[in-house]
C-alpha cells in the first residue's frame, strides 16, 4: 500500500514537472512566433514603402527627363523605322 502510494506520488510529481516544462516551452515558442509575425508585418510595411519608392523613381516624367537630357535619346524619325512584320496591306493609302 505504502509502495503504491509512493509510486503514485512520484508519478504525480513527474507529471506536474512535465506540465510546467511544456507550458514554458509553449510560451517560448509562442513568443518566437509572435516575433516572427511582427517581423513579417514589418517586412510587409517595408515592401509597401519600397513599392512606393520604386514607382516614385519610375514616374514617366523622370524617365523622360533622364532619357532626353542625360542619355541624349530621341525618337527615331518615322522614315528610319523598319517594321519587322513583313505584311503591309497592299492597299496602302486607299484614297
Amino acid at each position: 500500500m505504502v509502495r503504491l502510494n509512493m509510486f503514485l506520488l512520484l508519478a504525480v510529481v513527474i507529471c506536474a514537472l512535465g506540465v510546467v516544462t511544456s507550458q514554458h516551452k509553449a510560451r517560448k515558442l509562442f513568443q518566437a512566433l509572435e516575433f516572427e509575425q511582427d517581423r513579417a508585418k514589418q517586412l510587409d510595411v517595408e515592401f509597401g514603402q519600397l513599392q512606393l519608392e520604386l514607382s516614385t523613381w519610375a514616374t514617366p516624367p523622370r524617365i523622360e527627363k533622364i532619357a532626353r537630357d542625360k542619355l541624349k535619346m530621341r525618337t527615331p524619325d518615322a522614315a528610319k523605322v523598319i517594321s519587322a512584320t513583313a505584311s503591309i496591306p497592299a492597299g496602302g493609302l486607299s484614297q
Binding site: 513568443q31 514603402q49 514607382s55 535619346m73 518615322a78 517594321s83 512584320t85 503591309i88 492597299g91 496602302g92
Partner: protein
C-alpha cells in the same frame, strides 16, 4: 509486568476520565450546528463570488493581464495595367499627448519639437492646454516615431495611421482620385471602388506578462481583411503621353481647359484619361473646383462637327444617300424656319464623303433632312448619347438629348452637325467605337479586363461602318479639315469639331475645339478623343488645335503598345512631325 500493562491501559483514550463526565447533549449539537453554519457562510460567499459577482471580478482580473489588440488592415492599392502602383497606403505614426501627464523639462520640449519639426513655442502651448488629449503631429515617418518613443517622455504616446501616397501625382489625379480622413474615398476610383478597397481591421485578445510580452491568445481571433487591390485598365505610359501632350496644347493655345481620352477599340478599356487643369493629390491645399473637375466625364459640351459622321452613317444605313451621292452645298448657307446655318468656308457641290472631309454644316443639315426626327433620336440614343455611362465615376453625366417629339425643324438640322445636343468627351469617344469596330457599340471599362475581345450591341451595319471609316480617313488627308492629325507610318481616321460655346443661352464667340479619331485605320486599335476648351491663341479650329494633340498622343501610344505600322513611310510625309514631343 502486569502493573506496567495496567498503567498503559489507564492511558487509553476510551478510558479517559473526562469521557465519563455526562455533558448535556445540546452542547455537541450546538457545536455541530455552528460548524455547519460556518460552512454555510463559506458556501454563500463562494456563491456570491462565483455566480452573482463573477462578471465584475472576471473583468477586474482580465484588466490586469488581458489585452484586446486591434490588428490593422490596410487599404488596397491601385495599380495600372502593368502593375505600376498609382496609389498605396503605408503606415505612419501620429504623436499625441495627454497634457495633464506631460510634464516635460524645457530641454525635453526642445528635443521633441525638433523631432516633430514644429515650433517649440507652439508645442509648449499645446502641452499647456487644458484639453484631455491633443495631437502634436500627425502622419510622421515611422523612424521618427521610434526616435520619439526612445525619448520615453511621460504623457506622450503615438498610434499607427495609414497615409495614402500617389506616386504619379497630378498625372493620374482625375482617374485615381483621393481619400479623405478615415480611408474614405472622395474622388475618382478611390470613391468608385471604395467598398472593395477598404480593409476591415481584425482583433485578438491576449494575455500579457509583467514585461508586456504576449504570453498567449485567449478567445477567438478575428482575422483582419486587407482591402482588395485594384488593377486599372490605365496604361501609365499612354496616360503620361496624354497628360503631357494635353498640358502642352492647353498652354500653347492659351486655352482654359482640356481633356483627353484613349480607349482600346477591341476591349473597351480606358487606357488614358487626362484633364487640364489638374492637381497634386499628395498635397491638396488650395484646391479649386476647376482643378478637381474630371472634365472628360463630368462636363458636357456641344460637340460640333464630331457628330456629323453619325448623321451621315444613319442616312447611309437607311439608304437615303450613298457614299458618292452629290449634295449641293452652295452658296454656303441655308435658312430653316427663320434661322440661318452656314459653313465656315463656302463649298459647291460635294459628295457625301466630301461633306465629312470638308466638314460642311449645310451638307450635313441637308442629309439630316432626309431622316425623320425619330430615326435620328433612335440613332443618337443607340450610340449612348443622353445616357449616363455608369463607369462608377462620381458626377458622371448623361448629357442632353431632347425627346424627338419636341424637336423644331432647325434643331434637327443643327443636331446633324452637333449643336443643340450635349455630350461628355467620354461618351463621344465611346460612340466612335461603332466606326472603329464593325458598327457595334461596346461598354467601357475602367479596370483591366482579361476577357476575350467583346462583341458589342450592333448599331450600324459593317458596310456603313467601313464606308464612314473611309470618309473619316479622307478628313485627315490633304484636302480634309485635319491634315495635322496625320501620323507617319499609320493610316489615321478622325473628325474635327469646332463648336461655339453656349453662354446664358446665347452662342458666344468662344470655341470648343475637338478631335476624335482612331488608328490604324486598316484595323483600328485605339480611339483618341481630344477636347480643348476656349483656345485663346491665333487658332481655334479643331483641326489646328486638337488635331496635333491627337497625332502626338496616338503616335506615341501606337509605338508604346507595339502596334505595327500599316503604311510604308514616305520621307516627305512628315511636315508637322508629331513625333517630336514625346519620348517613351
Amino acid at each position: 509486568m502486569m502493573n506496567f500493562k495496567g498503567k498503559k491501559l489507564a492511558h487509553k483514550f476510551a478510558e479517559s476520565p473526562v469521557l465519563r463526565l455526562r455533558l448535556p447533549a445540546w452542547r455537541s449539537r450546538l457545536m455541530a450546528l455552528l460548524i455547519l453554519g460556518c460552512f454555510g457562510v463559506l458556501l454563500g460567499r463562494s456563491f456570491y463570488l462565483q455566480i452573482l459577482n463573477t462578471d465584475f471580478l472576471q473583468e477586474k482580473g482580465d484588466s490586469r493581464y488581458r489585452r484586446d489588440l486591434e490588428i490593422s488592415a490596410s487599404r488596397g492599392s491601385v495599380a495600372d495595367r502593368n502593375g505600376d502602383v498609382l496609389a498605396i497606403s503605408t503606415p505612419m505614426k501620429s504623436i499625441w499627448a495627454i497634457p495633464a501627464d506631460a510634464k516635460l523639462t524645457p530641454q525635453q520640449t526642445q528635443q521633441l519639437a525638433k523631432l516633430l519639426e514644429i515650433d517649440g513655442k507652439e508645442l509648449a502651448r499645446k502641452l499647456a492646454s487644458d484639453k484631455s488629449f491633443v495631437f502634436l503631429q500627425r502622419q510622421i515617418p515611422p523612424d521618427v516615431g521610434e526616435q520619439v518613443a526612445a525619448l520615453k517622455l511621460p504623457g506622450i504616446g503615438q498610434n499607427k495611421e495609414y497615409r495614402r501616397f500617389y506616386p504619379t501625382g497630378e498625372m493620374t489625379a482625375h482617374i485615381v482620385g483621393f481619400t479623405g480622413v478615415d480611408d474614405k474615398g472622395l474622388e475618382g476610383v478611390e470613391l468608385a471602388y471604395q467598398s472593395q478597397l477598404l480593409g476591415h481591421a481584425g482583433s485578438r485578445s491576449v494575455i500579457k506578462d509583467r514585461r508586456g510580452q504576449i504570453v498567449e491568445d485567449v478567445g477567438s481571433i478575428k482575422v483582419p481583411q486587407d482591402g482588395k487591390d485594384i488593377r486599372l485598365a490605365l496604361d501609365s505610359k499612354v496616360q503620361y503621353l496624354a497628360y503631357s501632350q494635353l498640358k502642352q496644347a492647353v498652354a500653347d493655345n492659351e486655352a482654359k481647359a482640356g481633356g483627353a481620352v484613349v480607349i482600346d477599340v477591341k476591349t473597351g478599356e480606358i487606357l488614358a484619361l487626362a484633364n487640364w487643369p489638374t492637381y497634386n493629390p499628395n498635397n491638396r491645399e488650395h484646391l479649386s473646383g476647376a482643378q478637381l473637375r474630371n472634365r472628360a466625364v463630368t462636363d458636357t459640351f456641344e460637340p460640333g462637327s464630331t457628330l456629323k459622321p453619325f448623321t451621315i452613317a444613319q442616312a447611309l444605313e437607311s439608304g437615303k444617300v450613298r457614299f458618292d451621292t452629290i449634295i449641293n452645298c452652295a452658296p454656303g448657307h441655308m435658312t430653316i424656319g427663320g434661322a440661318t446655318i452656314s459653313d465656315s468656308h463656302a463649298h459647291g457641290a460635294l459628295t457625301v464623303a466630301q461633306v465629312i472631309q470638308k466638314s460642311s454644316n449645310v451638307g450635313a443639315a441637308k442629309i439630316a433632312a432626309t431622316l425623320t426626327p425619330q430615326q435620328m433620336w433612335d440613332m443618337f440614343d443607340a450610340v449612348g448619347f443622353g445616357q449616363v455611362s455608369h463607369l462608377g465615376f462620381p458626377g458622371e453625366v448623361g448629357g442632353r438629348l431632347r425627346p424627338w417629339k419636341v424637336w423644331r425643324p432647325i434643331e434637327q438640322a443643327t443636331m446633324s452637325y452637333g449643336h443643340g445636343i450635349s455630350v461628355s468627351l467620354m461618351q463621344l469617344a465611346r460612340a466612335y467605337t461603332v466606326f472603329a469596330r464593325e458598327g457595334d457599340l461596346i461598354p467601357l471599362s475602367l479596370t483591366r479586363s482579361d476577357a476575350l475581345p467583346l462583341t458589342g450591341r450592333p448599331v450600324f451595319s459593317q458596310q456603313t461602318a467601313s464606308e464612314v471609316r473611309a470618309m473619316l480617313e479622307m478628313a485627315v488627308q490633304p484636302g480634309g479639315t485635319a491634315p495635322k492629325a496625320q501620323i507617319p507610318g499609320y493610316r489615321v481616321a478622325g473628325k474635327t469639331g469646332t463648336a461655339y460655346k453656349l453662354e446664358n443661352g446665347q452662342y458666344a464667340k468662344k470655341y470648343v475645339a475637338s478631335f476624335v479619331g482612331f488608328a490604324p485605320a486598316s484595323d483600328p486599335r485605339l480611339i483618341v478623343a481630344i477636347m480643348i476648351d476656349e483656345p485663346g491663341g491665333a487658332q481655334h479650329f479643331g483641326g489646328d488645335v486638337a488635331g496635333p494633340v491627337f497625332a502626338g498622343i496616338m503616335a506615341g501610344a501606337l509605338r508604346t503598345l507595339g502596334i505595327a505600322p500599316d503604311v510604308p513611310v514616305q520621307v516627305a510625309q512628315s511636315p508637322n512631325a508629331p513625333v517630336s514631343k514625346e519620348k517613351l
